[in-house]
Amino acid sequence: MRKANDIKYILRFLGIMLMAEGVMMLSCLIPSLHFNDGTWWNITVSGLFTFNVGLLLVVSFRKARQLANQRMAYLLVVLMWVVLVLFGTLPFLATGTLLNFSDALFESTSGITSTGATVFSAVEWLPASILLWRSMTQWFGGFGFVLLVLAMVPSLGINKYSLYTAEASGADNTGKQASSMGSTIRHTLGVYILLTVLFVFVLYKSGMQIWDAVNITFTNISSGGFSIYNNSLERLTHTQQYIVGIAMLLSGVNFAMLYNFFTVQWDKMTHKFEQLRFYLALYAVAAVFVVLALRLKMDYPWADALRCGIVQTLSVLTTTGSLVGDTSQWWVPITFLFVILSLCGGMAGSTTGGLKAMRVLILIRHVRKILRDRLHPHAVNPVRLNRKPVSAHIVTNVMVIFMVFVVVIFLGIMLLMLSGINATESIGAVIACITGYGPGLGTSGGFGCYAAFNSTAKLICSFLMLLGRLECLTVLILFIPAFWKR
C-alpha cells in the first residue's frame, strides 16, 4: 500500500537517531567510571546495542531517497519519538535500577519528553551513570530531536519545514520562512548550548560541584525537572535557587528571540514582543499571588515566601517541575493556580510545554474579536498579534489545538480514573504529563513520585507525555483512517 521507499527512508532516519542515542548512552560512561559506580558494563552494553541497531538500519537503507509523501513526516516524527523512548529504557533495565518495564518506560518517556515526572521516590542512591542519563535525555528532548537532527545533518533530502511543523504543530509559524529554517534552527541550537555552558559555569562559580552544576543545568534549561537530589532544588543555597530560576525564566523565552538579543539585533525582537510581554505579565501576576499566599496563608517568613514564590512559579509556568519546597503541602488554591499556569506554558519556540503564551494570547484576542464583531457587525476586526493581523488558518490551528488539548485531558482523566486512580490524582497527573510539568497532585505531587501508580496508569501517563510533547495533533492524526488510505 505504502511506497516501500518511504518506509526505508523512515527506517534510515530512525537509524541515525538510534546511533545518536547510542553515543549519548556511551557518554554516560564518563561519570560511571569517574565515580566508579559499577555500572560501566551495563551502560556499555546498552549503548553499543542501541548504536549497532541504528548502524544496521542506516547501512541497510542507505539508498533510500527522499520521502515521496509529506504526510509520512508525521509518521516519521512519531515513530522516532517512540523508538527513542523504547531504547531509552535500556539503561534503566540493564543496570537493574528499574526492574519493571512500565516503570522504565515511564521514566524514559518522562526524560525524553522533558516532563520530569519520576517513579523514583529517592534518587540519591542511583548510580551516577543513570543520573546523567536522566538529565541528558531531558537536555536533548527539551530541544527536540527533530530539530537536533535538522541542525546537525544539513542534507537529509527532506522537506525540513514539514518535519519541523510535525514536531511543533505550527507553534512558531508566524513569519517563519521555510527557506530560512536551517539557519534559524542552528541559531537556536547555538543559544541553547551557550545558555547551558553559561549556567554550568555560573552555578559552578556559586560553589556547586561541577557534577551537580551540569545535571541541574541540563534538567532546568530544558524545562525538564528531573533532579539528582531527593528534595530537588530545596537543598541548594538561596542564591543558587535564584540562579536556577533565571535559567528557567530564559528557558521559557523564544530561543530565536534570545539569539537576536545576544547578537544585538534588537529590532528583530519586536515581532515577538507581545508574547514575551504576556509571558512575563502572567508570571508576575501569578508570582505576586503565590508570594502573598505563602506569606499570609502559610506563614512563611518574607524571605522564604519571596524565594519560594518567585522560583516555584517560574518552575511551573515554564513547565519545568523543579521544586523549592514540597508543593503538595501548599495551600490548595496555589496548587490549582499551578495547574492553570502549567497549562499556559512559556513562549512558543522555547523548551516549555503547555499551550504556549502565543496560543493563549491568540485565543484571548479571538474572543475579543468576536465581541467586537457583535458590537460592530460591519467593521473588519482581525485578530492582531504584534500589530500584525494573524492569518485565519493560524487562529484555527490554535483553536483546534486548544480543543484537542481539552478533549485529551478529559479522556486521560477518564482512563486514569478507570485504572483506579482517584479524582485529584488523575487531574494532577494528566495535566502534569500533558504539559510536561511533572509533579502532579496528591502523592504524585511535590516531593512524591508516581511509584504508587499501577502499570496501566503509567502507560497512559507515558502516552500523554508523548502527546503533550508533540502537541497532540501529530500523534492523533495517525489514528485517523484517512491517514492510512491512499
Binding site: P333, H366, L375, V395, V404, I413, M417, L418, T424
Partner: protein, 498 residues
C-alpha cells in the same frame, strides 16, 4: 416605514435608549408582582401565615415596576441598537432576580441577603442549587413561588419581553438571540412574536400535562405543580430534602420522560406535538441528543453493574440520572451503594455539553459540540490532504466560518469561566475536583449533581461561605446569558465610543 437613512441618523443622534430599557424592566417587574398571586392563593388556602409578607413584597415590586414602566420609561422609542440589547438583557437579569429576593426575605424563609440572592438567581436561571437543605419545611406558598421563578426563567425573561411587547420590532430578535442559543435555526413562524407565542404555548402545555400526570400518579398537588414547573424549565428545585423520595416509581418515570423532553429544542417539540413528524425527525441535533442519551444510559448502567450494584436498580438509576444531567435539570435520587468513577467523568462531560440549542436547558449545547467535533475532524483530515476543501454541515446546511469561530470562542470562554470560578471556590476551601465540578454544574445551570456529592462535597450550598455563593451566582447568570451578553457589558471595547 421610515427610510433607513433617516432611522440611522436618528439612532446615532439620540443617546442611549434608557427609557425603553427601564420601561421593559418595569413591565417585567409588574409581571413578577402579578405572579405572586398564585403563592398568595396557596398561602391563604393552606393558612401557612405568609399572606402578609407576600402581599407586601408583591406591592413593593408592583410599585417599583409601575415607577420604572410609566415614569422613568415615559416617551420611549421602540427600537434597540445592538449594544442596547445587551444592556436590556443584563439589566433585566440583574433587576428581576433581585426583586425576586423580596419574598424570601420578608417571609423570613432566608435571613441573609446573600442567601436570598443565591436562591433567587438559582431559580430564575433554572439552576436549582439551593441553600435550603430541607425544602419540605418551607411553607407551601414559598415552594410554589420558587417553582414559579424557575418556570418564568425557563424559556427566558427576554422571551417573555418579546412575547409581551409586540410593539418592539427593531431589536426584538437580538433580545431573543441574547439568551436563546442556536439562533441559526429557522424560527417557528416568520413573525418572531408569533413563534415566541407558540413556544410559550408548548411550554405551558407540557407543564400542565406533567402536573396532571404527577397528580394522577398520587403526588400531592402542590408538589406536582412545583415539580412540573421545575422539570419543564430544567430548573431542578426539589420539594423535599431526600431527593425525590416522595415520588413513587411511576412518578419518577414521568419526571425522567419530561426531563428528556425539556432538553429538546422547543421548536422541535412544537413540530412534534402538532404532528409534523417529518420535520421532527429531520433535526440532526435532536437525533444525536437521543442517541447520546441511550449510549450514556448503557455505559452508565454497565459501569454501575460492574461496580457491584444490581442490574435493575443500576438501569433505573441510570435512566433517571442521565436524563437529569443531559437536560441540565439537576434532580437527584438516592444513588446506588457503589459509585463508579467512569460515571463521574461521563457525568462531568454531559454536564458541560448540556442540552440541545433552543431548549430550556443550559450548558455549552449539543449543537456547538457537534459543530466543533465535525470541524476538528475536518481539520485533521485537512492536515492529511492539505488541498482538500471541507465544510461543516449540520442538518444538511453549511455552517459558516464566522459561526464556527464564535463557537470556538464560546467554548474557550466557557472553560475559562469554569476554571476561574473553580479557582475562587478553592480559595473558599473546596478541593480541586469538587470545585471544578461545582463551577461546571452551576454555569451549565444544572445545580446539584450526585457527581459533586461523590467527590466528597456537600450539595447543601448553605454551607459555603458568602464569596463562594456570589461566585456561583455570577456563574449561573453567565451560563444562562451564554456569556457574551454579560462580558460585552463589562468589556472595555463596549465602552469605547458608543
Amino acid at each position: 416605514m421610515t427610510s433607513p437613512g433617516i432611522t440611522n441618523r436618528r439612532l446615532r443622534l439620540r443617546k442611549f435608549n434608557f427609557r425603553l430599557i427601564t420601561h421593559l424592566t418595569g413591565i417585567l417587574l409588574t409581571y413578577l408582582a402579578a405572579s405572586m398571586v398564585l403563592p398568595l392563593a396557596v398561602s391563604i388556602y393552606f393558612r401557612d401565615g405568609m399572606q402578609f409578607a407576600i402581599v407586601v413584597s408583591a406591592l413593593i415590586i408592583l410599585m417599583a415596576g409601575l415607577f420604572f414602566r410609566n415614569i422613568l420609561g415615559r416617551n420611549r422609542e421602540y427600537d434597540l441598537k445592538e449594544n442596547e440589547s445587551y444592556w436590556v438583557t443584563v439589566i433585566i437579569w440583574l433587576v428581576i432576580p433581585l426583586g425576586g429576593t423580596l419574598p424570601y426575605l420578608f417571609t423570613g424563609v432566608l435571613d441573609s441577603f446573600t442567601d436570598a440572592v443565591f436562591e433567587s438567581y438559582s431559580g430564575f436561571t433554572t439552576t436549582g442549587s439551593s441553600v435550603l437543605a430541607n425544602p419540605e419545611n418551607l411553607p407551601p406558598s414559598m415552594l410554589t413561588y420558587r417553582a414559579i421563578t424557575q418556570w418564568a426563567g425557563g424559556l427566558g425573561l427576554m422571551l417573555l419581553v418579546v412575547a409581551l411587547l409586540r410593539k418592539l420590532t427593531q431589536g426584538a430578535f437580538r433580545l431573543y438571540e441574547a439568551e436563546f442559543s442556536g439562533t441559526q435555526q429557522r424560527k417557528l413562524h416568520p413573525r418572531l412574536a408569533k413563534s415566541v407565542t407558540r413556544m410559550w404555548t408548548i411550554y405551558s402545555a407540557l407543564t400542565a400535562a406533567m402536573a396532571v400526570i404527577l397528580a394522577i400518579q398520587g403526588t400531592p398537588v402542590v408538589d406536582s405543580f412545583c415539580l412540573a414547573c421545575s422539570t419543564v424549565s430544567t430548573g431542578g428545585f426539589l420539594t423535599s430534602g431526600e431527593g425525590l423520595a416522595i415520588l413513587n416509581n411511576g412518578a419518577l418515570a414521568t419526571v425522567a420522560v419530561f426531563m428528556i423532553l425539556s432538553g429538546v429544542n422547543v421548536a422541535v417539540l412544537y413540530r412534534f406535538f402538532t404532528l409534523r413528524w417529518r420535520n421532527w425527525t429531520h433535526d440532526e441535533e435532536v437525533r444525536i441528543y437521543f442517541i447520546l442519551y441511550l449510549a450514556s444510559v448503557v455505559v452508565c448502567t454497565l459501569a454501575f453493574t460492574a461496580a457491584d450494584n444490581g442490574f435493575v436498580s443500576s438501569l433505573q438509576y441510570s435512566i433517571f440520572h442521565i436524563a437529569s444531567t443531559m437536560s441540565t435539570c439537576g434532580f437527584y435520587i438516592p444513588r446506588p451503594a457503589n459509585w463508579s468513577f467512569l460515571v463521574s467523568v461521563l457525568t462531568f462531560v454531559l454536564i458541560a455539553i448540556g442540552a440541545t440549542a433552543g431548549s430550556t436547558g443550559g450548558g455549552i449545547k449539543l449543537r456547538r459540540i457537534i459543530i466543533m467535533v465535525k470541524y476538528i475532524a475536518n481539520y485533521l483530515t485537512r492536515m492529511i490532504h492539505p488541498n482538500a476543501v471541507f465544510r461543516v454541515k449540520v442538518n444538511h446546511e453549511v455552517v459558516e466560518t464566522d459561526y464556527i469561530n464564535k463557537v470556538f470562542a464560546f467554548v474557550f470562554l466557557y472553560i475559562v469561566f469554569i476554571v476561574a470560578g473553580a479557582f475562587i471556590l478553592t480559595l473558599c476551601g473546596s478541593g480541586i475536583p469538587a470545585a471544578v465540578c461545582m463551577a461546571a454544574a452551576n454555569i451549565s445551570n444544572l445545580g446539584p449533581s450526585p457527581l459533586i456529592n461523590s467527590l466528597g462535597a456537600s450539595l447543601d450550598y448553605s454551607l459555603l461561605p458568602a464569596l463562594a455563593k456570589w461566585t456561583l451566582t455570577v456563574l449561573m447568570l453567565a451560563g444562562r446569558l451564554e456569556l457574551f451578553a454579560l462580558i460585552a457589558v463589562f468589556s472595555p471595547a463596549y465602552w469605547r465610543r458608543g
